[in-house]
């Protein structure tokens, strides 16, 4: 049983690829929870939806490649820019002029693109455990290949197309144990593995093979910095200092180039919204109320004006 069921659901379609979305509640503003990597889907936000739907309007969607969305096998369909188009299409379909964007991991990168390239659609952005071209890769992830067989299939050696095909569940088990690295996370890991099992290794391999904006910007850090600096709306960064998937240094680097505030969750892993839902929910609630206060249409303009 879900704690809250959607008030509305539907699909948007782009070039024949269908994306499934859900809408909850009727408050203001709209909060759009973005998908992360297709290893999971909109149930990543199961601890957020009931709470935020009580205060605001919530929109979620499944990423192409998982959940109730389509699973094309052409890598080009999984470019970050395609996900951004899906987000905008879902906003249009749900009559969402603008929204607060919440993303974690790869979803945080999508949020950054949305905020930088579509400022009129974005009221504010929360990025947790941000995947980003900025900052460092975790030391323990370095030196492994995705394409060629690794010398070891221990640890991050498992993030490899050959291993994925051979022991998909083993890979999911490993990957989710890294997402939820905090002790006593068995339920969160079991959830994650079951979401991962809803798609296939071939889909995840296709997502890895896409060549997109992030592929480009990894090589052009100056442009990545410029992209973050385009963001004009309020921005909140959250990152666990024990994140075992994406280094905390990535959010620190984003904070440095944007001047945004970074909330560090000491002892926290990659998906703090899943593992520390209460604190994460309250942090985001506080953020939204600050930018979009009880004085709704006034709060934002006044708040941002020459203080």
């Amino acid at each position: 049983m879900r704690a809250r069921y959607p008030d509305q659901e539907g699909y948007v379609e782009q070039h024949g690829v269908r994306t499934f979305y859900e809408v909850y509640g009727t408050g203001q503003p709209t909060v759009l929870f973005l998908p992360a990597w297709a290893i999971g889907h909109s149930r990543y936000w199961k601890s957020q939806v009931p709470y935020f739907a009580r205060h605001y309007r919530v929109v979620t969607f499944d990423p192409r490649g998982n959940g109730k969305s389509d699973r094309p096998l052409d890598p080009a369909e999984y470019a970050d820019t395609e996900y951004v188009r899906d987000a905008l299409a879902v906003m249009d379909a749900t009559h969402t002029q603008h929204a607060v964007m919440i993303g974690f991991s790869m979803g945080a990168w999508l949020a950054a693109i949305l905020a930088a390239h579509h400022p009129d659609r974005v009221l504010g952005v929360v990025m947790a455990g941000s995947s980003s071209p900025l900052g460092q890769m975790l030391p323990e992830r370095r030196g492994y290949s995705f394409d060629d067989p690794n010398q070891t299939e221990e640890g991050w050696g498992k993030l490899n197309r050959h291993y994925l095909r051979r022991d998909y569940r083993g890979f999911l088990q490993f990957f989710y144990s890294k997402i939820f690295s905090e002790p006593h996370s068995t339920k969160q890991i079991d959830d994650g593995v079951s979401w991962g099992m809803e798609t296939t290794p071939e889909v995840l391999i296709a997502t890895r093979d896409s060549v997109d904006l992030s592929t480009y910007m990894v090589k052009r850090l100056d442009e990545a910095v410029a992209l973050y600096r385009y963001i004009r709306c309020p921005l909140l960064l959250i990152h666990g200092d024990s994140d075992a998937v994406v280094s905390h240094s990535r959010s620190a680097a984003i904070a440095e180039v944007t001047g945004a505030s970074l909330v560090t969750i000491a002892g926290g892993g990659h998906h703090v919204f899943g593992r520390e839902p209460v604190r994460a929910n309250l942090l985001v609630r506080d953020f939204i109320d600050r930018i979009y206060g009880p004085w709704s249409n006034l709060g934002r303009n006044i708040g941002m004006a020459g203080m």
Binding site: S261, V263, A266, G267, G268, G293, I302, M307
Partner: protein, 712 residues
């Protein structure tokens, strides 16, 4: 009581006057944050001190501008009615803003909301937001309590009972009578004596003549329709706060104000008109929350530690300014660490206690220095040997609010496992007033229960006030019995005064049996280690073979006159006991150089581990601070003690306790002539002592009680 200006919890960073058409208006600026908050006066009846519970807190987060409205405070009192129109006040407000470089601001106003309404409607670019507390406008009828009298304000009457005091002739005849009555009705909350006293004092700084000029001045909006129109013109965010027992402005006015301005209404139930003074914590937090939503400020929190990743941390609030309490607190902390080895303790304390903590290598909370300094207040209060401790305590209301707000901020930032407060009066009081702010297990420790008057025959008001303060605490405890997770009494029940809290109130000792757990008197050392007086004197370099005397007055500056008298007495003693030597401990706040030199007498500002030295004494004469006297009892040295004349604790509680232990050489300050000092010391040297033994395990008992809240 003689009026005096108590120490302020926060002083302005800038102050000056503006002048408009020859009328000078005094303003003050505090802090440098953003945005600026202008706290408007409800003048001329009162002045900017009305915000004393707000300024220190708001100035820590924002920039605060206050001014005295014309007709009161340090501003001019023009003699014509035209000088008091709304337009003049608005003009003053704008000019104060210009003078302080304040382009726009959030406004706080109590009652006189019509000024800001007009200002916000006409100068929207200057107003970021508005907090209207008990806003008075013609949006709803005048309160029925005095509607009938306002129409006949100018008619002389036969009697002026009750609201009939709302009358020109009564104002002129008995201004104090009017404002005492009026503000008593504005403060329907029980135990509001201090707030009422403050306000009446401010009212007495103006005159009924000035108030009449103000009353005759032009007002806008005058009608309900005008007020409604103005409200609709307000474009800034509005927060309305209204007490539902307000007898000045009916709550219906606040409701209408919020509705018409699109604002948010917070109704304070059980509250009257003067909420900034009577519920300062709530007003402060509501204001802070409101301003934060206007400014898209950075989130306060930049780091949050998962609950299971947290270290075990205690906040130890050691409130006393004397150096005695900190020794017992350190003793309890040592025992507590023995029981909970991984416990980290942050200390929250005042100078000079912080010096002791630093010397002990303890961690002092990094924001500790932001506290308003209590010891400065006590010194300011002391005159001659007459520190009136209860009145001085009572005048700390402003410091208490300021320091509680700081405590609140730091405990929101750090989630402690436990708060331990040794006589942390402000924490205990405001937690009971705002119980929803308690977010950790909380332990209260004290060695004194109940205020007892020091001059019951000469000062009946003191009797009433002490009883009122005690009654309030008794009611707070009864209403929120689980707010304190532990109440520890530093002593046994028999050491408490066998006296009533006040007329019609319970007996202190009996009440304590229900509400306190006794842990015994806490010594900071093991007295058995200090029984070899000769060896000890050798070790500390005093040597033997002459009478060694001590005099000490504790950690504040108030003991200076006592030291002078003891010096003179010691001089006389040397005439009959020429080999006698005296060590005089002046305390860190009295410079030894300020006292004359006397042969055989050594002055020291501070003696580390004073008890070791007291244990060497052949006789001592001390101010009856609890710690010093009990150290003498524990080391079994003959001594006489001199209570501060108007110090309730020294006059009553210490006396009861010392009698319990068999120490009875009490000297009254008035009788303390130099010959008396000499005679007393002569008598004490070599006198036998028959004191009751002081328990040696009290710190452990206290720590065991506290540890039970931290582990099982």
């Amino acid at each position: 009581m003689r009026a005096r200006t108590p120490m302020r919890a926060r002083y302005p960073d800038q102050e000056d006057y503006i002048e408009r058409d020859g009328v000078r208006t005094f303003y003050e600026v505090f802090g440098s944050g953003k945005p600026t908050i202008v706290l408007l006066p409800s003048s001329p009846i009162i002045h900017s001190q009305q915000w004393k519970g707000q300024v220190p807190y708001l100035a820590r987060h924002f920039r605060v501008v206050t001014f005295d409205g014309r007709g009161n405070g340090r501003s001019d009192r023009p003699g014509v009615s035209e000088a008091y129109t709304d337009q003049e006040i608005i003009g003053d407000t704008l000019q104060v803003m210009d003078a302080t470089g304040t382009e726009r601001a959030v406004f706080l106003i109590l009652c006189h909301a019509w000024w800001v309404l007009d200002l916000a409607a006409r100068y929207p670019e200057r107003v970021l937001g508005l907090v209207a507390i008990a806003p008075g406008t013609p949006l709803a009828p005048i309160h029925p309590n005095r509607a009938q009298y306002i129409g006949r304000f100018d008619e002389p009457r036969g009697d002026y009972e009750g609201w009939a005091k709302t009358n020109r002739h009564y104002w002129l005849q008995d201004w104090r009578g009017f404002v005492s009555f009026f503000f008593d009705r504005m403060l329907p909350e029980p135990h509001s004596t201090k707030q009422l006293e403050d306000i009446v004092g401010w009212c007495m700084e103006t005159t009924p003549q000035t108030m009449l000029l103000n009353r005759a001045a032009a007002r806008f909006p005058k009608t309900k329709e005008e007020a409604e129109e103005l409200c609709r013109k307000v474009r800034c965010p509005v927060l309305v706060i209204h007490g539902d027992l307000d007898e000045c402005q009916q709550p219906a006015k606040g409701e209408a104000f919020a509705k018409l301005t699109g604002g948010r209404l917070v109704m304070l139930e059980g509250a009257g008109h003067m909420t900034p003074g009577r519920d300062p914590v709530k007003i402060n937090l509501l204001t802070k929350e409101f301003v934060d939503t206007l400014t898209a400020s950075q989130p306060r929190e930049v780091r949050w530690t998962r609950a299971m990743s947290r270290r075990k941390r205690a906040l130890f609030v050691s409130s006393s300014i004397g150096l005695g309490h900190i020794q017992r607190d350190l003793a309890i902390a040592r025992e507590l660490r023995g029981l909970i080895p991984d416990l980290e303790i942050d200390w929250w304390a005042q100078h000079p206690v912080t010096e002791v903590l630093k010397a002990a290598g303890e961690r002092i909370h990094p924001q500790n220095h932001l506290q308003a300094l209590e010891s400065a207040h006590w010194e300011e209060e002391a005159s001659q040997h007459e520190l009136h401790a209860f009145y001085a305590f009572r005048r700390m209301d402003e410091i208490f609010v300021a320091n509680f707000m700081l405590f609140h901020d730091i405990t929101r930032e750090t989630p402690y496992d436990i708060w331990i407060g040794d006589e942390s009066w402000e924490v205990d009081y405001f937690l009971h007033e705002n119980p929803e702010l308690k977010t950790a297990p909380y332990v209260w420790l004290t060695d004194v229960i109940g205020f007892l008057p020091v001059d019951p025959d000469g000062d009946p008001r003191e009797v009433t006030l002490c009883a009122d303060y005690n009654a309030e605490k008794i009611e707070q405890r009864a209403r929120y019995p689980r707010l304190r997770d532990l109440s520890l009494y530093i002593g046994e029940y028999d050491e408490l005064p066998d006296a009533a809290f006040g007329p019609g109130l319970p007996n202190i000792r009996e009440w304590a049996r229900t509400w306190y757990t006794p842990v015994g008197y806490v010594l900071p050392f093991d007295p058995l280690q200090y029984r070899d007086q000769k060896g000890l004197r050798q070790r500390l370099g005093y040597g033997n073979g002459y009478p060694l005397l001590f005099a000490a007055v504790g950690g504040t500056g108030v003991g200076r006159p006592l030291l002078q008298r003891v010096m003179d007495g010691f001089g006389q003693l040397r005439e009959t006991m020429p080999e006698a030597r005296m060590v005089m401990v002046t305390g860190p706040r009295i410079e030894p150089d300020e006292l004359p030199d006397v042969a055989g007498l050594e002055k020291r500002p501070y003696v580390h581990n004073l008890f070791e030295h007291l244990a060497c004494a052949d006789a001592a004469i001390v101010q009856s601070g609890l710690s010093t006297t009990m150290e003498l009892v524990a080391t079994r040295r003959p001594f006489a003690y001199v209570p501060l004349r108007k110090h309730w604790e020294q006059q009553h509680h210490v006396g009861y306790r010392l009698r319990h232990y068999g120490a009875t050489n009490r000297l009254e300050y008035a009788e303390l002539t130099p010959p008396r000092v000499a005679m007393t010391l002569q008598h004490l040297v070599g006198a036998p002592v028959d004191f009751r033994e002081v328990p040696r395990d009290s710190a452990r008992r206290a720590a065991q009680q506290i540890a039970a809240l931290l582990s099982r």
